[in-house]
Symmetry: D2
Subunit: 279 residues, 4 copies
């Protein structure tokens, strides 16, 4: 029995995937025919149903990845491979508070919302109203907006939350908002960035050098898919070669202190250590 | 103020990272000197402390990635890039129940535990006792074992849980356990596999063809790190080129039904659809 | 002054590249207008000419790569990145004799012909007549056939040359022709293979283990292109992810002798060595 | 019979490769024992010989790749995968004249020399004397210097040859030498560059925009090796992730003409075309 309100993937014999919410009294329509919601509600996930045109269609529950891949988009969205790694590096999880700007079409927002759950919180910022509306619509569609605050706000004026556990910036000039970012985070928090060009990465690295940040890590992630034909196993002919450079670093509280210590000689530092550690 | 019980990363000036729990009345010792817990407890995360030898050390909270990278290991552990993507593809998250076998050193177990949180559950199986002990130790060390069941069990006899949301097999011959896996999952659940060789992938694909599974996806993930030097931006000289092939598919309930439909003509299928959809 | 008979690339303002031979009394025609050969013959390579429609077109000499990329094809051709590495590994160069089967559309044949030059020789074999004709046509078009023998021949019956310096097999079941290959090569010669699937690689490795071959090397080559926009440097969005697995090994003369030596004890081998080296 | 003067690879049972020239009256010495030249000269390539210590050693002819991998080096040398692709893109081959600066340890010089052969010529420039000596020594050792001119020269003062077919610059600031490069090449010639950082690539692209060059191509090449174990086929664990960015473009003769045409209207260009093409 599939409950009403479920987000469903209908898989046709040709492998097309249609994502649609199951609403009582309604139906799913496609070029392969239609299916009444009442018929679907009687089935289990993973079952096969026959459309009005006699086409057998597989009825699956939409996974997190189905949701990420089917969001409506106005721009390039972040890919699942990157969303997964960003969420791990930011430590998204139950009870955590994560900041984001801009939200764009909301694909990363959706991933953060999933992992943080009802005890966590995602605070997202977006300056352009049409993106804000789109992100809200995508979150509602995915059934994932309950723990998300969407702010129509230019982050030059600061973030809508302070003391957050982590922050992700997917904006064109992230180096312009490092002061605001630092003010919004608790000490030790992780910052993440996504940038398409190496020129932007270079400029961000220069910016991070000025602030109380740990040495940044820069990386790229690739996914290479294989054709799953036993006996003729081989990689697919083409792959996505670039989605963006990821940069991660952490907010440090003691940057000035560290600088101060470095100006001391070893003997002075030992004396200072003895004084501090005994206190 | 850093609470006792926190898992801490001490970062030395040379960039070495030591992960250690803060225990009241104890101290952290290293070749760079020692630090009393009482001194650390007064600081904030991200602060700098001077060791007994006058070495300035950065005091950070251990992130999820720090934990994954510092588990004690008897074998190759799964990498963060793969753990992140596996957790996303399995839909790990608050309230979800995920099965795993074998747990090995427990790195994936730790990631699943993090994302599923107190309302979710990870049910892990391991046949070799020394790995079970190691996984338990790593989970305790990481402060993440509360939602994990570790079973000393050969999965040939079946899994310790049924109706689970997803399952991950990191065993040498996963094709031997597909019947047991199907019995332990709810319809539509996602199955994931990690395999080092293409020969194993080929054999698994043959096995999956026999069962009620959707067409499997095979992929590899790569992470390429860059040297974060502004003005001289360049990739690192070496990278990890292989950690394993990932295979994902979903459990279908209606495999026999689908086969039955395929044997019917289009007209018969339309009649059958009309009968079913009207009922 | 561009000599008649030159192979020319006409580059249009939109970046389209047309490869065409300059023939006295003829003209080059395109949707951007036409150009009489007499006009082109007066120019230097790298010049700009105006077509009959007033479109400025860049007149370049066709490079080796232009030729490789513009061969007429009935099947997938080998890519320049692979051709380059194969030619280096086989030691193609002036004065060398290289065997090939099958020649397919002749792209690799063309590369081998280029590097071996008038003092070298390429001996190519192809069982299907339409490919043989196509390869001949592509070699003539590229002006590179003079040092190439094209044999209409099933290599199961042996190669048309013996004592060759190297050999390349681009056939579906190369393991079926290892005896013939060994007979056609001088001792120490390099053998190369191109195979699309890992299953074929596995079968070839098994075949090579039976024969007098050195331990094979297996590799893949990738080329990742970047968008050449200063200030916004970034990789292209998509890339070719798979063209084939390359396998290389060398023909050994002393395989049985080696096996014989291994059965002896160290002392006996020393005595034998003393006897042989003094003789 | 192996002729004296041959460059030989001795492969030990543990897979170590020693490259050494066979000189009459001398011997090859290693920790696995020694072998007199007279004994080797009696064998064929690919044979097995027993050293004085009774160790069976495989006697192979040094391939082009063996030579490239065993040059003595003072700095990072260019890898075979890159040398192969550079030689193809530059159109190195019998009868061609190729310019190079700096020659470094001479690995690329060696590759160019091989492919250009006795009818071609490699003109290499190097400002530092110790590199010049090293390159000469490596060319002699590899038996490949006959067609190579090595110039001790700062290319700021121009190249030692004009009208060359292609040019390769492996220097830190190639954008400083574009005028000299243009003067040394025939129209339509290909220019290639190797640069370690994206910042250098960006600066080179800016430089090329100023000159009579076609739109440059930027790429990276990767080689991924596999473990050649049948039944357990898998990629190697680690790979080289970065050797350098390759940039290629072509010298155009008509850059100013092209700019002139662009300032005309379509009708004026058609009239001009009619005038030119009829003349």
């Amino acid at each position: 029995m599939i409950p009403y309100g479920s987000l469903i993937v209908y898989v046709t014999p040709k492998g097309r995937r249609h994502v649609c919410r199951l609403e009582e009294g309604q139906a799913w329509h496609s070029r392969d025919g239609w299916l009444p919601a009442e018929r679907i509600a009687e089935l289990d996930f993973g079952s096969v149903a026959l459309t009005s045109l006699g086409v057998p269609v597989l009825v699956q529950e939409a996974t997190l990845e189905d949701r990420l891949l089917h969001v409506k988009r106005l721009t390039q969205v972040i890919y699942p491979k990157d969303i997964a790694y960003i969420c791990l590096r930011l430590g998204a999880g139950p009870g955590r508070t994560i900041l984001e700007a801009g939200c764009g079409s909301g694909a990363l927002t959706l991933g953060l919302s999933w992992f943080c759950g009802p005890t966590g919180k995602v605070v997202s910022h977006e300056a352009r109203e049409e993106f804000l509306r789109l992100a809200r619509r995508n979150l509602d569609w995915a059934g994932l907006g309950a723990n998300v605050e969407l702010h129509h706000r230019d982050i030059a004026e600061g973030f809508a939350q302070s003391g957050a556990d982590a922050l992700f910036l997917d904006v064109r000039t992230p180096w312009d908002y490092l002061v605001q970012a630092s003010a919004a985070l608790r000490p030790g928090a992780t910052l993440g960035f996504l940038l398409p060009t190496t020129d932007q990465v270079g400029e961000l690295l220069l910016g991070l050098e000025q602030g109380p940040f740990s040495i940044p890590e820069v990386c790229e992630l690739f996914i290479r898919r294989w054709k799953s034909v036993p006996g003729r196993l081989r990689p697919e002919d083409r792959m996505t070669a670039h989605t963006g450079f990821l940069v991660f670093c952490r907010l440090q509280a003691g940057a000035e202190i560290l600088a101060g210590f470095r100006s001391l000689g070893t003997r002075e530092r030992k004396q200072e250590a003895a004084r501090l550690n005994r206190s």
